[in-house]
Amino acid sequence: MSTSPEQSLVLSSCLRPSAHVTAGTVEFPEVVSCDRVYMRVAVIGAGVIGLATAQSIYEQYHSIVSPLTIEVYADRFTPLTTSDGAAGLWQPYLYDKGNVEETEWNKQTFDYMLSCLRSPESIQMGIFLQSGYNLCTEPAPDPSFKDIVLGFRQLTERELQMFPGYNYGWFNTAVMVEGKTYLPWLMDWLQKRGVIFYQRKIESFKELAETGADVIINCTGVRSGELQPDPELKPGRGQIVKVDAPWLKHWIITHSLTERVYNSPYIIPGSRLVTIGGIFQLENWSEQSNITDHKKIWEDACQLEPSLKHARIVEDWAGLRPVRSKVRLERETIQSGATTIEVIHNYGHGGFGLTIHRGCAQEAARLFGQIVEKDKNPTARFGPLSQFYSSRCVFLILGSRSWRVGFPLSFGRRRGPPSPGPTRCGWTPAGPGLLSQLAVHRRLQQLGGNSSSTRTEPGVMRAPTLAIPLLVPRPKALVAV
């Protein structure tokens, strides 16, 4: 142990709220401490994928990474996202074409939502059960979701008689999750846990990295191509009509061999209104409803369900499914000059975003965990971020008249111009071999204004804790606040 007088700290004084401590060139009127790694995560996109990923990361890592700052950036929030327009029926495409990973994520989502049903809070989440019919014009192999849903069976003769023109199909019970209710619930859940929302269109990953984000989660759906070109990502335009027909209690989805999925009529009752659709136009970027599609949807639906003739039409809506050959759910480390940006992509869920959201969010959190593991090694921690920190060596001294213990620390300070968003200074322990780890983290007030009305107040200051397994401090030496 050695001390360097001009760089030493007296811990006891720095723990008093109003005391001033000098270490090097930084002053700390307040001190907040935590253990081990801290991290700032920026999620881009506030549809179901973005919000669910933020949730999974929080759930799995808020006690491991401390403090864990999660921010969500989006230009559109509920009820204006693609997720809000979807009817909300959990149902993947009929066949997964060997994509067993996606089937597994779909299953995880189904099981998760089923477990939510045990609580009355499921209403606030917009989750409920509904049964219904999948209709085909000729015999077809059983769908990949047959063992995931409840009560899956073939349709009986009498049931098929109810749907002229269709002579094969299945009946099962599935879960519904309505975006217009689920997304506000998720946002509320996240806000209560300190997640901050920013209404802002992000133009590049670099933009966020420069403000200090350690990890970026890209959940930008159909417009992911604007952040990083992706020729596999295309819009699958859909249009729906919402009607008032409360006597309908089953969903009816038709499948055609010639048409692609969703281009065949479907009727999906929701908690208040019934969603009628059957449009899938690849590479059509129009978000406006049009009369041609409306007529087609309406006529097809009335033929399928004659009672709709008496239904009151409430509204039309069009949205762009983020279609891709398969979901892009992977890490990418992007080099931008001297900067290295950690990105987790989670987009391209086509027409099954709600169906797959939880499984993908959990997987994205797992990928995030890989980054956390990597950064738990403090020297490695500085590696990719060293351009933001200038390291100094500081020793933290605990002592009384009769003894002194020094803990070598590194001191880092964020470089770069002040920008909207939190800035901070921090210390992290140097050397992976240290038995005690003391991380002192300070969060300053956000600089600059921000147009978002969803911004919450900065996080709560936390009481410092010290983990010093070997040392038994004398009473005067250690003042815990």
Binding site: L114, L117, R118, S119, P120, S122, I123, F128, L129, Q130, S131, L150, G151, R153, L155, T156, R158, E159, M162, F171, T173, M176, A245, P246, W247, L248, K249, H250, P269, S271, R272, P306, S307, K309, H310, A311
Partner: protein, 338 residues
């Protein structure tokens, strides 16, 4: 040929169904429906109207099967048509649950509902208090809409409607040739049938539009029936109980038991409470008899005592009653020819 004057007593689902059957099938009859209470004040109005049968001990099974099947098929055709919302008739899927495995796993009506099967283990997981269950699709027929719809059909077929309280069948003999008695619990006094007794049922209507399935406990005392504008939750089966006012204890019990089956019920707003007296009898009385009224022998066709299965059996028993009316007419003609 002189028009035969038929009067149907009772404006519940049995009365109107029978009246429509007769008016549509026998155009040479003039049919009048006469009752003290009309929708929405009949027993039928409060019933959830889920088609579901019980087995009566003394009626041949074949006849009971016919009753159920004809009713179901008739209503299924309406449910599948554009008249569904106006008539208040819709398809309803769901589950019937049993705490203990029942003796009869496949009741006689299972072949007449749609897609009847035993519940899977994963479906039963949602109901930890129950060990066995049946899943199927049946019909829900809401009488608050169905009765006015039947009345429309009745009038279209030339039927006449009169509101009047009847104290005795004798009041009818000067105006009518055949009497059809569909007076439900009223038969106790109107025709002196002591075998009719009330089984009190209390239900609540709650606002829970996210519920899409019916859930029923096999004991018939706890059930959740989502309807067009509200969800009917219940219930009670109190034999010999004539109270028509809602009972607080019953309300609490219903909400408790239903919330156990379906947790989200605890968050549903209670819209209204209702009590009905099921016109119960060991077996429904669907038969004809000649009744001495003053000096005449008058043919009376009885169609009452359906208990909690009125909506379920209405059309089937109405068709039976029509057959009995035809028999009466035939016998009357034979008499006239003598």
């Amino acid at each position: 040929m002189k028009s035969v004057r038929v009067v149907v007593v009772g404006a519940g689902v049995i009365g109107f169904s029978t009246a429509v059957c007769i008016a549509e099938a026998l155009p040479f009859c003039s049919v009048t429906l006469l009752a003290e209470k009309f929708s929405p004040d009949t027993t039928s109005d409060g019933a959830a109207g889920i088609l579901f049968a019980a087995e009566f001990p003394d009626i041949p099974l074949e006849r009971q099967k016919r009753w159920f099947k004809y009713s179901f098929d008739h209503l299924l055709a309406i449910a599948q048509s554009k008249h569904s919302p106006e008539a208040g008739v819709m398809l309803s899927s769901g589950w019937q649950l049993f705490r203990d495995i029942p003796a009869d796993k496949k009741p006689f009506w299972s072949e007449f509902v749609i897609g009847f099967r035993v519940m899977t283990d994963s479906e039963l997981k949602r109901f930890p208090d129950h060990t066995f269950g049946q899943a199927f699709t049946t019909i829900k027929c809401e009488c608050s809409s169905y009765l006015p719809w039947l009345e429309k059909s009745f009038r279209k077929a030339g039927g006449l409607v009169e509101q009047r309280k009847l104290n005795s069948l004798e009041e009818l003999i000067n105006s009518y040739d055949i009497i059809i008695n569909c007076s439900g619990l009223g038969s106790k006094t109107l025709v002196g049938d002591n075998k009719v007794y009330p089984v009190r049922g209390q239900v609540l209507k709650v606002e829970a539009p996210w519920l899409k399935h019916f859930i029923r406990d096999g004991d018939g005392k706890t059930y959740i029936y989502p309807g067009i504008h509200s969800v009917t939750v219940g219930g009670t089966r109190q034999e010999g109980d004539w109270r028509l006012q809602a009972d607080e204890g019953d309300t609490k019990g219903i909400l408790e038991r239903c919330s156990r089956l379906e947790p989200s019920i605890s968050k549903a707003k209670v819209l209204s409470k209702w009590v009905g007296l099921r016109p119960s009898r060991t077996n429904p009385r669907v038969e004809k008899e000649l009744v001495r009224l003053q000096s005449r022998m008058v043919p009376v066709v009885h169609n009452y005592g359906h208990g909690g299965w009125g909506v379920t059996l209405a059309w089937g028993t109405a068709l039976d009653a029509l057959g009995l009316v035809r028999q009466c007419l035939h016998e009357t003609r034979l008499q006239a020819n003598l």
